[in-house]
């Protein structure tokens, strides 16, 4: 099977490529040049403009879409246009399945722009008739994951945290290795074509609990003070000051904290059964522990 991966140079793409390369012919797509190797052919394309997308999809059976424009001022519009470009070219190329990693929680009428955009991207990808498989995940726990690095930045730098009440929102983070395994497993899988799956990790926790558990791994005990009046804009500016994540990335993430990001069903676990990585193990690995 020939597989094209958009967003291949990102955190999730990098974890997914070796799994795909074990069984498939892989075309990895990024905006900049990469050395070809390990059975993976790198090509340049820009999903935002559509340039190079048709070439990247030539003879592809399955396309993975792991792109987002988080950090851009008008990320919602950019994500819509990029998804439309890939949807159109995938239909022309005769692609049989698009696999997309979306977000949990985007169906809520009060969903944040970021989560709403993730949902709309999935809808756009399906707009030209190619069946789309959507995996909906909460925070991905892995080195380089923007959400994880934000939390880590807070834990490392602050002995006392003034946090919005949204830190009490429940979430179900999943290990980078596990989401990559799920993504690899649904590609070309007839039972997954056209389906939407919730991809939750093995534990449900609040962001507050997540902060406390990461802190414990680092040997810290931060004091967390919840206040009900901290707005997303203020939170984002504050995050920019104290973490390596820019406000433009932090704000959509912070807004998303209002929404519970918890799996509602377990069909993916039944389709692709394996032991999910406990949060502490995933976090420890992301911290460089092993």
């Amino acid at each position: 099977m020939r597989v094209t991966v958009f967003g291949a140079s990102g955190v999730i793409g990098q974890a997914l490529l070796p799994l795909l390369a074990e069984e498939h012919e892989v075309v990895a797509v990024s905006r900049g040049p990469h050395d070809t190797g390990d059975g993976i052919r790198w090509v340049e394309a820009d999903v935002a403009s559509g340039e190079g997308v048709a070439d990247a999809l030539e003879q592809a059976d399955v396309a993975y879409y792991l792109v987002h424009s988080l950090g851009a001022r008008d990320f919602e519009r950019q994500d819509r246009e990029a998804a439309r470009n890939v949807s159109r070219e995938a239909a022309r190329a005769g692609v049989e399945q698009i696999v997309y990693l979306g977000g949990l929680g985007g169906g809520d009428e009060h969903a944040s722009p970021h989560l709403r955009s993730r949902r709309e991207t999935g809808e756009r990808l399906a707009s030209d008739g190619v069946p789309v498989t959507i995996l909906r995940a909460a925070m991905v726990v892995g080195k380089g994951s923007a959400a994880f690095e934000t939390i880590l930045g807070l834990v490392k730098r602050l002995p006392v945290m003034i946090t919005p009440s949204w830190v009490s929102t429940p979430t179900q983070p999943i290990a980078l290795e596990d989401i990559a395994r799920y993504l690899a497993g649904v590609g070309g899988n007839d039972a997954a074509v056209g389906e939407v799956f919730d991809a939750g990790g093995p534990e449900v926790m609040t962001y507050r609990q997540m902060i406390e558990r990461i802190a414990a791994l680092l040997g810290k005990r931060p004091r967390i003070v919840e206040v009900p009046v901290l707005t997303p804009a203020l939170s984002a500016l504050w995050l920019e000051l104290v973490t390596p994540v820019s406000a433009s990335v932090a704000r959509p993430l912070v807004e998303g904290l209002r929404n519970p990001t918890v799996a509602r069903e377990e069909r993916l676990q039944r389709l692709l059964p394996f032991r999910l990585t406990p949060f502490d193990d995933a976090a420890w690995r992301a911290l460089g522990g092993c």
């Binding site: 009440s165 009490s168 919730d198 609990q209 919840e226 009900p228 519970p260 799996a263 069903e265």
Partner: protein, 175 residues
């Protein structure tokens, strides 16, 4: 969105002095699947409904040993134990024991969010059941009725309204 119908709400005072209330609706398709995730989602969606209905004024916060329903991030209105999840044999439920708070006279009672399935082609029931709850705002036995007005005219209708909101969120599949 699946149409909801068959709304019923009732409340009574038990011999023990505890309150029991139940709201339910019927729908033609399942709102959650019969699994641990489905049972957990019944609970998550309920607390989201509380937050939505009060525009964030009342929110649940969670620790490993349970949760607290807090007013403006401060006063604890009610404390709860951890969720007790049940699924199988046509029922999915999430139960929280009530463990105190300003709105509870003392620890005791529970809130259960449940979905009962009538099987293929049948209708399914979503319900919110409060059992053996001792509200601090209700009138004591033998006391004038108006001493319980805050419960009868405030907390009880509020609870029903939240349940309606909750059922709508579940039916829409968007909680």
């Amino acid at each position: 969105m699946t149409a909801l119908h068959g709304w019923e709400a009732n409340e009574r005072v038990l011999e023990s002095g505890g309150f029991e209330s139940r709201q339910r609706v019927l729908l033609s398709r399942l709102a959650v699947e019969t699994s641990e995730a489905g049972a957990r989602w019944l609970g998550v969606a309920y607390w989201q409904a509380v937050g939505d209905f009060t525009r964030g004024g009342v929110r649940a916060t969670w620790r490993d040993d349970g949760g607290r329903l807090r007013l403006l991030g401060g006063a604890t209105l009610l404390g709860f134990g951890p969720p007790e999840l049940r699924y199988g044999d046509g029922i999915v439920s999430c139960r929280y024991s009530i463990e105190g708070g300003l709105l509870a006279l003392r620890a005791g009672g529970s809130v259960t969010l449940a979905q009962r399935s009538e099987g293929e082609g049948g209708e399914h029931e979503l319900s919110v059941t409060v059992e053996e709850y001792l509200p601090s705002l209700a009138a004591r036995v033998g006391a004038p009725w108006w001493t319980g007005a805050l419960y009868a005219k405030g907390q009880s209708p509020f609870h029903s309204a939240v349940s309606r909101r909750y059922f709508e969120l579940l039916a829409r599949g968007s909680a």
